[in-house]
Symmetry: C2
Amino acid sequence: MTVDARLIALDWGTSSLRAYLLGDGGTTLDEVAKPWGIMAVPDGDFAGALNLLTGHWRQERPDLPAIACGMIGSAQGWRETAYVRCPAGPDDLIAAMRRATPPDADIPLIVPGVALDGALPDVMRGEETQVLGCLARLPELAAESTLVLPGTHSKWASIRDGRIASFSTYMTGELFSLLSRHSILGRPAQAAGKEPRNDREAAEAFDWGVRTILDNPRRGLSSLLFSVRTQVVLSARLPAANSLDYLSGLLVADELRNAIDPGRKTSADKFALIGDPALCGRYQRAFELFGAGEVPAITNTAQAGLWRLAEAAFHGNPVS
Amino acid sequence: MTVDARLIALDWGTSSLRAYLLGDGGTTLDEVAKPWGIMAVPDGDFAGALNLLTGHWRQERPDLPAIACGMIGSAQGWRETAYVRCPAGPDDLIAAMRRATPPDADIPLIVPGVALDGALPDVMRGEETQVLGCLARLPELAAESTLVLPGTHSKWASIRDGRIASFSTYMTGELFSLLSRHSILGRPAQAAGKEPRNDREAAEAFDWGVRTILDNPRRGLSSLLFSVRTQVVLSARLPAANSLDYLSGLLVADELRNAIDPGRKTSADKFALIGDPALCGRYQRAFELFGAGEVPAITNTAQAGLWRLAEAAFHGNPVS
């Protein structure tokens, strides 16, 4: 299987480690994953964890190079890489990668994160690689586009001339997790946990949350959030079992309304969503309800981004 | 001590039970409190808890009447009272109070909560009584004003002709608690927990949070929240020990910007803050930074509200 192997590509974040064995042209030959995010690596032993997960790929090719992106390059990771400043393109990232020197031959090449300076600074680690992978697969977006990466900390990246010109972070996923697990808003759904859910009704509740944001353009999130409770408890219009879908609709639409003007014609061909298909599906639906048309979604762009960076870094031939 | 006692007034909420012994004219003769919110009453025995806390007040006057406001009137409380609909004034609340009938002589008279119907319904329980107490003490606000009750679920009540015409809830306090205890934003402050704090620097961090909202009128909360992290970790402009003051400034100012237009002349004499003095102080500072002048703050209005309702309900003489 490993005869054509060229590169071990690692997407190593806060909550998981995903490893891909890539062959010629960046095709995926094999993949493995563990919940070994940087704070959950067994015994804090990054080299040991990597060897446990991918050691079998190196049995025939001990010199198979490795490249990693994500929080593995943070101060809490394996080896810190300094942020590259916006505007950041592939060349900037490549120049700032921490190279594996001979004594550290086992350490993968680590892709730096990207920072935005200014009055409101911002940071990303890992998403820059997904952005590059997306642009490699959808090159028509390289000249000018907005790429949206939903997640715990969603990123909206403005692309100009193949580089990340600027970006901003939304804590949408983390707010959803906190509110559904720890706040008063999560209680009805927890109590209803064992009721069978109806997919159509869940989708309707999500739509309703999006429309509530659209119908109340001047009203802030911290006020609209309380409607998750009142629509269940007071009006009884929202079934408890679907209340978190409504919450999700509110949060996703609140993110969107910061970036696009509802009603104003938005050119959907200048947007793309990157990430988990189910999550991207929710954002696609919200874009649609905002009147922004059909936004494409792609998944697994980290491999393409890591391949592109490794190709350049290893002068077109990852295996030296 | 109890010779002049006329009424036991109870502010019984989600997290605490505060009991006041009131004398002629509603003066406070004594007060006691326990963390016996409705979900934390020992053995769920409301009558037993009340007797433990206030039984000594009734030794000489077993017929001393009692009145209660707050979550004690909810479905999870002692006895459910239906919500009164907006516009809600003293007469509406009095008519809807659950009266203690002879077999229930120990049960206090319970003040109903207030509900706002419509596309975005809203509810309060307890705050309606604080509003009445505030209007009893500051009658010049009765004709037209906005009363702000900061807290876990902050309420903004529009007053017209002595009644609560409408209101809205902001989850500011609960968001602060969730984000500081459970999110990535709370970690630097937790790590810095033992450093001595500097009050002036803490106040500056709060002001900075407020100004960040003012400087970014088009940017939503879930995006600005991430700056709590980046200003500590990336720019290093925000000391970790003060990062939660900055977070508090963001959240309080986000609440304010929903209600008042920065820059537009706001008549501060039409506003009042009701609640804990330290918390009201933060809101006063934020009002000031919004250019809305000096907003008065008053505390302990529940007693005045309960006295006013009891006086009317017991025909001017609480002790029958």
